[in-house]
Symmetry: C2
Subunit: 228 residues, 2 copies
Amino acid sequence: VPSERQRATERGLRAGAGGIKGDLILAVAAERFAQQGYEETKWADIAAAVGVGTTALYHYFESKEHCLFTIMEQVLADHCTRFERIVRRGGDFTDMLVDVLYDLFDVSDGDVLRNRLFVTEQSLLHTPHASPRGESARQAAQARSRDLEFLWGAFLSRGMQQGAISDHPPRLLTRAVLGLTNSVWHWYRAGGRDSLDRVAEIYVRRTLGTLGLPPELALPPGASRSPA
Amino acid sequence: VPSERQRATERGLRAGAGGIKGDLILAVAAERFAQQGYEETKWADIAAAVGVGTTALYHYFESKEHCLFTIMEQVLADHCTRFERIVRRGGDFTDMLVDVLYDLFDVSDGDVLRNRLFVTEQSLLHTPHASPRGESARQAAQARSRDLEFLWGAFLSRGMQQGAISDHPPRLLTRAVLGLTNSVWHWYRAGGRDSLDRVAEIYVRRTLGTLGLPPELALPPGASRSPA
């Protein structure tokens, strides 16, 4: 199993010139924040783990908060991209819904840590930040959060128009779905007593129930649908 | 509308000698932590708001964390007490379930703030605390959290044995129910665009769906059931 740092370096290399070190810092920081706790982690420890001085680190992120908000924006942007990729393919509403829900749990160990960090620290997105680059990253993450709620709300509205799910305020239904599925990252641990496949199966079926749909719609991924 | 401080003073007076000042500190701290953010709130501000010096404050709580963990323990203990009060009455499983779910949303503005504080800071319960009284309060809160999961798990198991809800690992189903219902406190604001009654109605019905039950079971509270 490659370490988070190795994988981040690979991602950085793929991302091209300029982003390598920045991506490495983000990956190392996400891992530390999620495993040791965000408040407990010292910014200098991240510099040491990445192997750069604090002055060089400052070139990329002006503070721990700036780094956190950037990670959160990436988590939300990834979610939006993956959501749109599935919905853009079109097809039956409930098929797309099941694909989107299973996709939430089709994540790497690194994604699990980023998701955990996001759910435990998301309330920090509501408080303005003192420094300009940190505040700008916070606002970018907030904008992505609104994008994600909008995508989900529009998708669920379409399901209501088609009569596939019953009428509800789309904003509240979106929050219920995200509240239920995000709650997994509070307690799920890779290598723990419940496998992610098992958690995914149970949560996808229960989320269908939350939306008033029969859980039997959740065939194992790929069983009767086109591969992602 | 009485202020949180007035209400806390009343609660303190009812609680009897010894607990008055401690309860006032807890109420003021919960309000500040929830509204300004836990990290942003200075411990000295709590002392000033309550009208005691930091030395006197230390008599009650040795640190901000000690105070936070004590609030969290109270939130969880209240949840356990209310849950048990309903379930102890006995009767039909689904009637009790609907009552328990509506009861989660039958809360004061002060409870809303305490719930918000709990859901935003609950991850701090996993990290051992350096000072003895703080660590003891943290462990007490963790024990209450396990109590609550046990109560819910045992209750849901009973529903499965009776065939009222379908078989699932009770621990995972408990976490799904608590994940969905607790998520409300992340975004709900008293006086905001959605009334708590409306949120309660939607979330109780959606939670019944999560458990595979028809949402129609959720008659308005008291409609066909005995008063609480």
